[in-house]
């Protein structure tokens, strides 16, 4: 397993829905601990790419490797057990369970409790402690017993991240974690993401260019299902192809907004 230098590796991944090819040969390598932002225009296939990596959809051709082992064609729960977790663009919670229960559900498998019906939850010290620890990390410990459906939007987004990281996966995929948040909320939230993903390999889809250039070690630019650039932020910013296809207009508006 440790033979591979990469935590996550995509080799010429393709995905077609019917006759339409959505992902047209995407390749990407993430070293352990790297933070990679995936950017690109709407409809470029960013979410589809996440769905392929996390096993929600199967790839048409190509291979995806997690810590050296192929995960193409595996089920989401198998991929999760191998150490990859993801969040969703639209909060995907256990709405009728409390905040604490949401997190506890996310730690049970990784702590080896599987389908146990011969143990009481109340006796699982390690799982309960871990759930409380995650609650403190995502700053929802005051909302411990509130039902997930009664949280505010920003709190739900935080819980979404909490569920994702609770199991201790080494590779974390965050799909537009700050979608729908205000500027100040986003700033705080990015700090939170930074804290909870320390030491993890992080892939994130993000629209806010300020966030992207602040958070990411490397940036992958996805346009029409192809990775047209994959490099450190400065190189991507300077890349002519990227300028032409996508970044030029976005950066211009970003710079204008920031008075640069």
């Amino acid at each position: 397993m440790s033979a591979s230098p990469y935590a996550l590796e995509l080799n010429d991944v393709r995905k077609s829905f019917g006759k339409t090819e959505i992902i047209r040969g995407a390749s990407l390598q993430a070293k352990p601990g790297e933070r990679i932002a995936i950017i690109g225009p709407n409809g470029a296939g960013k979410s589809t790419l996440f769905n392929l990596i996390s096993g929600r959809f199967g790839v048409s051709t190509g291979d995806i490797r997690l810590n050296g082992a192929s995960i193409a064609g595996r089920k989401p729960y198998e991929i999760n057990r191998m150490g990859l977790a993801r969040s969703f663009q639209v909060s995907n919670l256990f709405v009728r369970l409390s905040v604490f229960e949401n997190i506890r559900c996310a730690v049970l498998w990784s702590m080896g409790y599987r389908y146990a019906f011969w143990k009481f939850l109340a006796d699982l010290r390690d799982a309960n402690d871990r759930a409380d620890e995650v609650l403190r990390m995502i700053k929802l410990d005051r909302k411990r017993d509130v039902l997930a459906m009664n949280l505010t939007y920003a709190e739900q987004r935080a819980l979404e991240i909490g569920i994702t990281i609770a199991g201790g996966a080494s590779v974390v995929l965050l799909d537009e974690p700050t979608a729908g948040m205000s500027k100040s909320e986003t700033t705080r939230f990015i700090q939170l993401i930074r804290e909870v993903t320390v030491g993890k390999t992080l892939l994130t889809v993000e629209h806010d260019m300020g966030v992207v250039f602040g958070l990411a070690d490397k940036i992958a630019v996805l346009v029409y299902g192809e990775v047209i650039a994959f490099d450190v932020p400065e190189a991507v910013r300077a890349n002519a192809k990227v300028q032409e296809a996508y970044l030029g207009s976005v950066l211009a508006s970003h710079d204008k907004a920031h008075g640069a």
């Binding site: 989401p76 256990f94 369970l97």
Partner: protein
Amino acid sequence: MSAVLKSAVQAPVPAPSSGRAAGGQRLHFRPLNVGRWVIWSVFALLLVAAPMLFTSGLAMTMLSQMGYMIIICLSYNLLLGQGGMLSFGHAVYVGLGAFFAIHAMNLIGAGRLPLPMSLVPLVGGAAGAGVAALLGWVTTKKSANTFAMITLGVGELVAAMALMFPEFFGGEGGVSSNRVAGKAVLGISFGPQVQVYYLIAVYCFVCTAALYALTRTPFGRMLNAVRDNPERVEFVGYNTQVVRYLAFIIAGFFAGIGGGLTALNFEIVTADSVGGFRSGSYLLFTFLGGAFFFFGPIIGAVLLVLAFVMFSEITKAWQIYLGLVFMFMVMFAPGGISSLIMMNLRVAGFGKLRRLASSYLALGGTGAVALAGAAAIVEMIYHLQLNSALGPTVKFMGGTLNVQGLDSWFGALFVMAIGIAMFEVARREFKRQWDETQQEIEKEIRRRDAL
């Protein structure tokens, strides 16, 4: 109460009520373990004392039936309330459990099975679990609609098979047996009904406790998670089909125990015990009792026996009333009786129940008037359609109605219309008060949170 209250916090939520006020409420109960001991002690005490309080033969029959119906409805709710699986074929597992149990009884009677009669329900349980294990993998492949459709299909399949294999299912007459057979352990022969009752009571208590315990295990919680959001469960490492499948087998096991107890109780099992009508009854009464709270199905089971045994004595048209009650429950209180109880307890907990008392009286009074009118009409129609050979008059609530006289019809219609109109006025006033109360409670909770 508190064990139940705790389950309210842990797993389910009350649904919007007649006031539709529940929208986004929070439950703030902090139960003590003492409370849980009290509840279970009271439950045990009730089971022990019931046949001493109600001594008639009819009461004994009904109490016995309630005992195993509680197990059956609770096992059904493991699927419906805990796992979000709407099964239309639960009678398959109850019924097949009963058939295996009655064959076991016959084997014991013939001296070919060295098993005490008291363990026969476990044979039913094993059969229920076995059949569920066999049919369940296909059934639980999908959730929601597909699951419901497959259970319906499997139910029809088994019901049809029951008529095709008379060797096992006994054809139209069913399979009968004698429970006074085998060795009498400690002088208990299961001849007198009271001995059967206490056996049922023991099973009822143990199964209820086991099913409650199940809701507090990792598996039980993941079952709730599968109910709420099966997709996300797959991304935290769990195979949702395995969760559903295990739940299905466990539900089959307890359903089979319930079935085994019916075999022991009636000493006969017929093909209709696996049929769709039975499945429908389990669904209907579990829902009436309330699927959101653990104790809901217990209320449902008690109602089921009351309806089938007593209500059917009062009026032949009882199923029409049952249908009406079910319809109103779905429309106005989808959380069933248990959630109505819990929501009113919440109001009481904040000391505001007294304010609603007059509204409840008004609702009850006007509802009774509407019901009387409606019932008169139902009884007259029923009489006209099915019993007209007995003459034109129907006895109704101490009076006499004439199905050929216009005055009876108009009278009944008038009473019903007035009743409905007044009920609607009372309902609006109640809803206003209820919403107001809920808002005050929300405010109070926020105030306490801020402290």
